[in-house]
């Protein structure tokens, strides 16, 4: 019914994510300029010439920084979501598959999950940063760990749905063991839900990284990061607002992209899930 509009979301989201990914990939082989090269002569260079979006107070090319910043963003997102998926999914599946007789297992997993949920990414990042020194790695781990509960919950809910389907009942009746069922039936069937969750978590991870960079707990200088670009641009907000505009826009569009992609995928893969937590 409203399929056309939702596809629009999927397409728009896909396109935005595609641009981010493309920028990140291209940045490996080519950027207009060295994004970290300080050039006093080019301080606050206006857009134009070889500097499409101008340069910052260090004379560094904004476009190049944005491109490498995309890499940082994706890097953080992939690792954080990866951690969350790799840890959260098995937990959720185990909790969802636990038979009634072992309800305590499910209960325990979910309670621990709730406990981890009580430690939000920022809190973890600040604590980890305090111990090991702030950096991309601590940020990724913190965001990843904080995202585990989301994956576990979604995986558990989806697993519970799969567990009552006929083919799983049949498989159990046929005497298949839990792990075999998990691999053969559960995982393939909750895959789409997890992909959706990954996309949404990715968006959250980008926002978290930006906030951490803003507080100085994120990516270390001079590695370009959108969050830090935004933070560094603050003192020039009056005179050179474009320095804040571009990274701000990049963050917003990337988050928008992943959110739209997630929603689009959700509708595309399973319309029943449209209302599910996300």
């Amino acid at each position: 019914m409203s399929g056309r509009r939702l596809n629009l979301g999927l397409v728009t989201g896909g396109a935005l994510v595609g641009v981010v990914v493309a920028a990140a990939l291209v940045s490996f082989v080519w950027t207009p300029h060295d994004p970290t090269l300080v050039d006093a002569a080019g301080k606050l260079r206006e857009p134009g010439g070889g500097y499409l979006l101008g340069a910052d107070k260090f004379g560094r090319d904004t476009l190049s920084q944005l491109m490498v910043g995309a890499r940082t963003t994706l890097y953080v997102g992939v690792v954080a979501v990866g951690i969350a998926a790799v840890v959260g999914t098995p937990l959720g599946v185990a909790a969802g598959m636990a038979p009634r007789s072992r309800g305590w297992l499910s209960e325990l997993i979910m309670r621990v999950n709730d406990l981890v949920f009580a430690f939000p990414a920022l809190l973890l990042a600040v604590m980890l940063g305090a111990v090991y020194g702030a950096g991309t790695l601590t940020a990724m781990i913190a965001i990843g760990v904080a995202t585990v509960p989301a994956f576990a919950r979604v995986a558990r809910a989806a697993t519970m749905q799969v567990m009552v389907t006929d083919y799983v009942l049949a498989a159990r009746a046929a005497g298949r063991r839990g792990p075999a069922i998990a691999v053969r039936h559960v995982l393939p069937n909750i895959g789409s839900v997890l992909i959706v969750q990954a996309s949404v978590s990715f968006a959250i991870a980008i926002l978290a990284e930006a906030a951490l960079s803003f507080l100085g707990f994120g990516t270390r200088p001079p590695t370009p990061s959108w969050g830090r670009m935004l933070q560094e641009s603050q003192e020039l907000l009056f005179s050179t607002p474009r320095l804040a505009l571009w990274p701000g826009l990049a963050i917003a569009l990337a988050v928008l992209g992943f959110n739209l992609l997630g929603d689009g995928l959700r509708d595309h893969l399973d319309p029943k899930l449209r209302s599910a937590r996300g």
Binding site: S2, R111, D114, L115, F119, P120, M127, I251, L253, R277
Partner: protein
Amino acid sequence: MIVYLLKRLAVLLASVAAAGVAVFAFMAVLPGDPAEIALGVNATPEAVAELRARFGTDRPPAAQFLDWFGGLAHGDFGTSYVTSSPIGPQIAERLGVTTVLVLGGMVVALIVAVPAGTFAAVHHRDPLGAAISAVSQVGIAIPAFLAGILLVFVFAVKAQALPSGGYVPIADDPAEWLRSLLLPWLSLGLVQGAVLTRYVRSAVLDVMREDYLRTARAKGRGRMGALWRHGLRNASIPVVTVLGLQLATLLIGAVVVERVFVIPGLGDLLLNGVAGRDLLLVQGVVMVLVAAVLLINFVVDVCYAVLDPRLRGAR
């Protein structure tokens, strides 16, 4: 219902205790001896030893933990190694500020989200409804601190209408208190409101598809009448879940917003504590934040029970 609540309460207490162990263990890993840090780099070894004894950090960790956690039970967070003042009152004062900030943000979010989300759901086929959805999507994509910076730029720096930061206690001057909180509330609330709008929309959309809404209309209620009388309370159940999750998010968002607006709240205290290696202070603040999140979860569950008769007595 009573049994359910008691069970849930037990889980809450157990979780808080577990969180206490986790926080303490984590902090124990922190490098740096609080006594040495408190005295600075030029301190003499004797002074350090003396202070260590006074702090009790020369005792085994288990004893330290029991001491600390036992103290928490009656509101004693210990005495800061750095400021040598009791931590409890500091946290209590900051918690008040942060609570006001977070609840205000939540109210703003609700004021934005409930009408906007409902409207977007009812009109989900109209351009206007789609526009609201689109705006909320964009709103979600804006980090709260960026919203804060922009709000300050527009309303404080350019328009000179509101203070750019700082916090005036309500006892000092209620009007200034309100003014000092408006922008922080907005920057927390608008972004959160955008997120919430989507959930309200989706909850209302779901409810609109429910059979009992059709029943209500079959009884002779109009579309909006049915939604109002039968839909909103049902839709509020998933929204309350999200609200609970969001309160937790807001609590953390407040950390950043406090930095932007120079508000002396818990987040500010936390970052100060980390920067100053005020171990016990950080431990206390983290514990309070975590306990707050757990408490919110608990309250959400209680809200379910109140809202949804199916949960009363069922468990």
